[in-house]
């Protein structure tokens, strides 16, 4: 019994009050959303609310899993993000054309996941930032060449690297934010930054959708995503900016101006990420990337915006508030 209670006590210590409040706020919002959907069901019983209900239910599950991952030890959180990368890469590789000859190469690609997250666990920034863009990029085609199947080589090498970048490299930026030393962010440390990023990214998605539904008139990118409108994009962007400016002092060390920049980065980046994955799906002739998340589609559908906002926000933060590691020329 004592083993468990000490472990729980340690887990609780990990959570700063700011983060605990932020998580509580997220659940409060979910409760409000659930109540709203219930009310809608009562007010307009003839309409079909199943998809919306499924969406909200899946949101609860995602929020609960995410909150748990944040609150338990750092290693558990890293395993969680690594698992998300694994599911996303697996979904991606299952959607795109692949060659039988590349089977062992794909296994090596999967191996990049535990390695990437190992560098994060070690807080080895230099390796985390180059492992996939340099080593995976160079070595995987080498493995392909050793197999020797040249037909479709370029497409295979290109699509594999793209997938690794979008699902592993991008998502791992969230994980690196998590392990940043807490003196870089007195307001909730790594978890504070992660909550800021992830919450705003998801909020931006929902906001753009809602603004688009209410005011949407001019399509912004009809060939790729006919549902997206200029009004939705701008409305969502402004709402995200406002929220970023309000939340930043609680969860991050960003100043007012910096928070606005972060808001723009997340608002625009989220939109672009969503649209890029939509373009991919159009090219492949599919509507949803999978069925893993009822009401949402596949995991790629859910992390598409994050795949853009995570690296962009991370490097903005790193530039503004990161440790002074790269000033080689000041010595």
């Amino acid at each position: 019994m004592t083993g468990w209670s000490t472990r729980l006590a340690w887990a609780a210590e990990q959570v700063s009050p700011v983060v605990a409040w932020a998580l509580a706020a997220i659940f409060a919002i979910l409760l409000a959303a659930t109540a709203a959907v219930w009310a809608l069901g009562r007010l307009r019983p003839e309409a079909d609310w199943t998809e919306l209900r499924q969406r909200v239910r899946t949101w609860w599950i995602m929020a609960a899993v995410f909150a748990l991952a944040m609150v338990l030890s750092r290693r558990v959180s890293l395993v969680f993000f690594a698992f998300v990368s694994f599911l996303a890469l697996k979904e991606y590789l299952s959607l795109i054309p692949t060659r039988r000859a590349d089977r062992s190469v794909l296994l090596w690609a999967y191996l990049a996941i535990p390695l990437q997250y190992l560098w994060i666990d070690m807080r080895w920034y230099g390796m985390f930032i180059v492992f996939i863009p340099v080593y995976a990029f160079l070595l995987l085609p080498m493995r392909m060449v050793l197999i020797g199947e040249t037909e479709g080589f370029l497409r295979a090498a290109g699509t594999l690297h793209w997938g690794l970048m979008a699902t592993v490299f991008s998502v791992s930026h969230v994980a690196f934010l998590l392990v940043l030393p807490s003196d870089l962010n007195p307001h909730g440390g790594g978890p504070g930054l992660v909550l800021f990023l992830v919450f705003l990214t998801q909020f931006n998605d929902v906001a753009q959708y809602l603004w688009g539904r209410s005011l949407g008139r001019h399509k912004v990118i009809p060939k790729v995503s006919p549902g997206k409108t200029v009004e939705g994009l701008l409305g969502g962007l402004l709402t995200t900016l406002l929220l970023a400016w309000l939340l930043a002092p609680w969860l991050t060390p960003l100043t007012g101006g910096e928070a606005l920049v972060a808001g723009v980065v997340i608002g625009l980046g989220g939109f672009i990420g969503d649209v890029v994955i939509s373009a991919l799906k159009r090219d492949l002739g599919i509507k949803d990337s999978g069925t893993l998340l009822p009401g949402h589609g596949g995991i790629l559908d859910r992390i598409d915006s994050l795949s853009y906002t995570a690296p962009l926000f991370f490097h903005l933060f790193w530039y503004l508030h990161g440790p002074l590691v790269t000033r080689l020329w000041d010595r």
Binding site: F86, K90, L93, S94, L95, P97, T98, Y110, G152, G290
Partner: protein, 233 residues
């Protein structure tokens, strides 16, 4: 619960389910068409040893001891350990095949090894028939062997003989895609890939074996066409 049933359940929950649901991942269309109870004949295309694991995971878990994949005796009973595992843990019903399709690792084939549809001998059907009479669920792979990954081969006629004897038992066609990518024949390295599962409506017996086999093949092809399936080159 006997020892074997316990071992079977442990194997299923600790190995099969995690491998299929996490390592692979299933996208199931028309899950409601899966049989909730026996007797039933489940017919699927065959691309990988993983096919059986996926089908075991799809069927209700309480049916587990009553699900019997029909499998080749020459392959699965070739040594004592594998035979014990196949019979006791997986619960197969072994059938003898005529050496029509030689496994690639075998010695050079005899002159008479031209592919002929291997009609199972009468006593083989008896074991399967007994299972159906008990109300169990039987899994058949009418292609006969794992064949080329992700290509539907000619179907053997054994399934038609069985349905002729049991016209009231529902025959559920299931098309699986992706397992030939994850673990094709001849490979020992499993690669994580999602598996698409398309469950069809029952195929009723209409009185003629040849027509039945053709109708079954047609259904499988229709199911395959239902989804967008990524190219496998």
């Amino acid at each position: 619960m006997t020892h074997y049933e316990l071992l079977q359940r442990l194997f299923f929950w600790l190995v099969v389910r995690p491998v299929v649901l996490v390592g692979l991942g299933l996208n199931v269309r028309h899950r409601e068409r899966l049989p909730a109870a026996g007797p039933a004949i489940v017919v699927a295309n065959h691309n990988s040893h993983l096919d059986t694991m996926v089908l075991m995971t799809l069927l209700p878990s309480h049916l587990l001891p009553r699900v019997h994949p029909v499998a080749a005796a020459d392959y699965f009973l070739r040594n004592r350990l594998l035979a014990w595992f196949a019979l006791r843990i997986v619960g197969i019903i072994p059938i003898e095949r005529r050496p029509a399709v030689a496994p690639p690792a075998a010695a050079p084939a005899e002159p008479s090894a031209a592919p002929t549809p291997g009609a199972p001998r009468p006593d083989v059907l008896a074991a399967v028939a007994a299972a159906l009479e008990r109300g169990d669920v039987v899994i058949l792979f009418p292609e006969g062997s794992r064949g080329e990954p992700e290509r539907l081969a000619e179907l053997k006629s054994g399934v038609a003989r069985l349905v002729e004897r049991f016209p009231a038992v529902p025959v559920i066609p299931i098309f699986l895609h992706g397992l030939g990518k994850a673990l094709p024949r001849g490979s020992a390295l499993p690669v994580p890939f999602f598996c698409d599962v398309f469950v069809g409506e029952p195929v009723p017996w209409r009185g003629d074996r040849k027509i039945y086999v053709e109708e079954l093949r047609g259904r499988m092809q229709e199911l395959a066409a239902e989804g967008h399936l990524a190219e496998w080159l």
